[in-house]
């Protein structure tokens, strides 16, 4: 075993927020030349640990060590000086500045007190080349798709030539190609002796990339060991304390032939001339690389962005809804990907969030019945296992529970078609399992589920059919029998144009 002092370490750190302990005596040591995985369900304390390591928060107890020496008052500035770079889950980019100006932000090369754009261009270019960003450096970041912004964020961390690189779910918005670029890059950086802390909910990535793992559960460290000889099943058991075999519910063939939504030559946003039939009782997956127009497909069907179509039938009514209230009336419900901004009203109580779609349907000036609301809220919370006081603001919940609230709010309306935009992004394994089960149950009840997902394994194991989108068109519709990760990825990348089934 190595006896080198870890580049960055936490020794028995504890942290509490408002009296709630989030971390209790957690230790972690980041060794040079090692990719260290940090696993745990949402709310296990991963983000807090990162914030302690990077100086954004100060521990209540325990200490942070750099190169084996304790740092009594770690600050973000000290962390930067020590060569610690963090790729946060929330992007730290400025949309109106160019890629280069974002990459160099906070560490611009200077010449006579001015930003040395020539030097900046050279250094930003090198950092962008590492992550395969080939857009012109003068492109404003606001013009990039989410996945590309994530790459800018990573380039920004690399620009500072870090010794310790902490990545908090870097792949949650990346396509498979981009993920591949990133994993190759991390391999290389590891070879150069950089210490990497890697947080991801995608176990296959962790298994392929990391050498060592620390597992957090409810603020304590349940494992700190080498990944050699551990398999994915074992990891999940460490995280949730039980077997993951039933992550995906058992798939059963469906028999319904009723069509919930049928569109011909449908265009909305990036999507062009799409023919699509969504059957009642199925889970239809929407796959493809990030930003190919999948989101516009959902939003267009939902009437949230303008769309055109040659013919459309939605739940027996012809014509597109053309607006959200109309879509709701037709039995459509949409759960957005960005739950913090679009899915929920974070500062408002959980209960209010759950009741919002109901408010839209009630007579505008009729008095609300608090009692009915409380009862509906309670039964929803029980159904979806959302624990605790429903009067707390939605932001008090962990990511997974927030997602459950975003889903729950549509349930009282018994939607016929559920349009989901990446519902399991950044959600822990346990909640994922609950969501999967819910979607299958929903489909079994004769409703249609349209699941846009960036997680290919989810598409393979959960869906009845998967439509793969590339450059605004559905390039393949894969039936259950033809479903495999390889088939989806190759269709997404345009490697194969066949396999279009009826």
């Amino acid at each position: 075993m190595t006896t080198v002092a870890p580049l960055l370490a936490a020794r028995g750190v504890s942290k509490a927020f408002f009296g709630n302990p989030v971390l209790r005596g957690v230790s972690i040591a980041l060794q040079p030349g090692r990719v260290h995985a940090l696993l745990g369900e949402n709310g296990a304390g991963k983000s807090t640990l990162i914030n302690l390591l990077s100086g954004a928060l100060r521990p209540d107890g325990g200490e942070i060590e750099v190169d084996g020496r304790a740092v009594p008052r770690m600050t973000p500035a000290l962390a930067r000086q020590a060569g610690i770079a963090v790729v946060q889950q929330e992007l730290s980019l400025t949309a109106s500045l160019s890629i280069a100006e974002n990459v160099g932000l906070g560490a611009y090369p200077k010449r006579f007190g001015l930003i040395d754009y020539k030097e900046l261009a050279a250094r930003a270019k090198a950092a962008c080349a590492l992550v395969g960003l080939n857009e012109p450096l003068s492109t404003p970041v606001g013009h990039l798709a989410l996945g590309r912004r994530q790459m800018v964020e990573i380039a920004k961390a690399l620009y500072r030539k870090p010794r310790v690189l902490i990545l908090d779910e870097p792949t949650s918005s990346l396509s498979s190609t981009e993920t591949k670029i990133l994993t190759d890059l991390l391999e290389r950086l590891r070879g150069e002796g950089i210490a990497i802390l890697y947080i991801s909910h995608r176990l296959n990535e962790v298994m392929a990339l990391c050498q060592h793992v620390t597992v957090l559960k409810d603020g304590t460290c349940t494992a700190d060991r080498s990944l050699v000889g551990t398999d994915a099943t074992g990891l999940v058991r460490l995280m949730v304390g039980r077997d993951p075999g039933d992550l995906f519910p058992k798939w059963q063939p469906f028999v319904s032939t009723t069509t919930a939504i049928s569109v011909r030559k449908f265009s909305a946003g990036l999507m062009r001339d799409v023919d699509l039939d969504i059957r009642a009782g199925e889970v239809l997956g929407i796959g493809g690389l990030v930003g190919q127009g999948q989101e516009d497909l959902l939003l267009g069907l939902y009437g949230a962005i303008p769309g055109r179509t040659a013919s459309a039938v939605v739940n027996g009514i012809s014509g597109l809804p053309g607006g959200v209230p109309k879509a709701n009336a037709l039995g459509l419900a949409y759960v957005p990907a960005d739950r913090k901004r679009e899915g929920l009203h974070l500062i408002h109580p959980i209960l209010t969030n759950m009741m919002l779609p109901a408010f839209a349907r009630l007579p505008a000036l009729k008095l609300r019945s608090r009692k009915t609301e409380r009862e509906t809220g309670k039964s929803l919370a029980a159904q979806l296992a959302i624990k605790g006081d429903l009067q707390r603001p939605a932001q008090a919940l962990s990511g997974g529970n927030q997602q459950k609230v975003a889903l729950a709010k549509w349930m009282p309306h018994d939607p016929l078609v559920l349009l989901l935009n990446d519902p399991t992004r950044g959600v822990d394994v346990e909640t994922k399992r609950e969501i999967y089960l819910m979607l299958r149950t929903f489909a079994a009840a004769g409703k249609a589920v349209v699941l846009l997902s960036s997680d290919t394994s989810e598409l393979v194991h959960l869906c009845d059919r998967v439509a793969v989108v590339r450059e605004g068109r559905i390039t393949a519709t894969l039936e259950r029998a033809a479903l495999s990760e390889e088939a989806i990825v190759s269709a997404a990348m345009g490697a194969e144009k066949q396999k279009v089934a009826a």
């Binding site: 954004a56 973000p76 500035a77 930067r80 963090v86 946060q88 929330e90 992007l91 730290s92 980019l93 400025t94 949309a95 109106s96 500045l97 160019s98 280069a100 100006e101 932000l105 906070g106 560490a107 611009y108 200077k110 010449r111 006579f112 007190g113 001015l114 930003i115 040395d116 754009y117 020539k118 030097e119 900046l120 261009a121 050279a122 012109p136 450096l137 003068s138 492109t139 404003p140 920004k156 303008p306």
Partner: protein, 319 residues
Amino acid sequence: MSIVPSAKSTGALYWPVQARRNIGVRSLFLVVLAFLIAYGVLFPGLFAASGFAKFTQSWFPLALVAMAQAILMLTGGISLAIGATVSLGAVIAATTMAGPFGVAGGAAAVALTGLGIGAATGFIVVKLRLPAIVVTLAGSFIIGGAALLILPRPGGAIPAWLSDLLAGDTPAAFVLLVVIVLLWKLYLATPLGLSLYAAGENPVGAYRSGVPVDAARVAAYAISGLLSTGAGLFVAAQTGSGDPVIGTAFTLNSIAAAVLGGIGFLGGQGTMRGALAGSLLLSLMISVMFFLGFTPVAQYVAQGLIIIGAVAIPQFRKV
């Protein structure tokens, strides 16, 4: 050292970045051009030296306050004290320049007052984390009151030669504006200056990236104060004396110009060239309507409609 970083020293990045920033304001430039042509047709004297001087002089203070407002809006702030600060600048100029310290001393007093007021406001907003709109609303009463204490009724004096230089038949106002714009470009080419955008749009992310967010915002308030009192000095030179309430209209006009120029209220959105074009458009609108014989009341109504239209049109185009 040249004032604008030369293409050679900045490589192939600076200019493409600059060109990108034009994209959002191109249509605004076209509208400004159309108004400029209309104005030239209605008033051919615009292209003579004295007509040009008069026009730039009427635009100059509005351009300065538009910049003062835009720089704050870029950081996600706003100021309701700009008008009062202009008035204070005017009375300080009118009471000191004829005194023992002369024009130089007076100008220094005006500049220091502006920087000081701005920095103090910025400090309160940034360090005490109070809403800018409330702090500057309160500030407008304090600053406006101070102006009235110094000069309860219009009076004081500006040396005639200075009035002639700034507001006579000279292109001094235009030259000054060019210099100020170049200084702004220079500021924006410094790390602190460019940080404005990051600090305004994504302060948490900027802080984590090592951007001195607080310093960038306080500096913006200080610069804004300086531009406002500077505008006051110019207005005093135009009228030859100080008036303690002369600046009042500038508060809302500065916001109107910035909004016309595409500066967003959320911070980090928009460009200074847009704000300047917005102030020019506002100033042209007033002149053109005057020549077309609009009554003052009709001018206000038309002005309001044009502002709403200007903000709404880009929204429609996005669809």
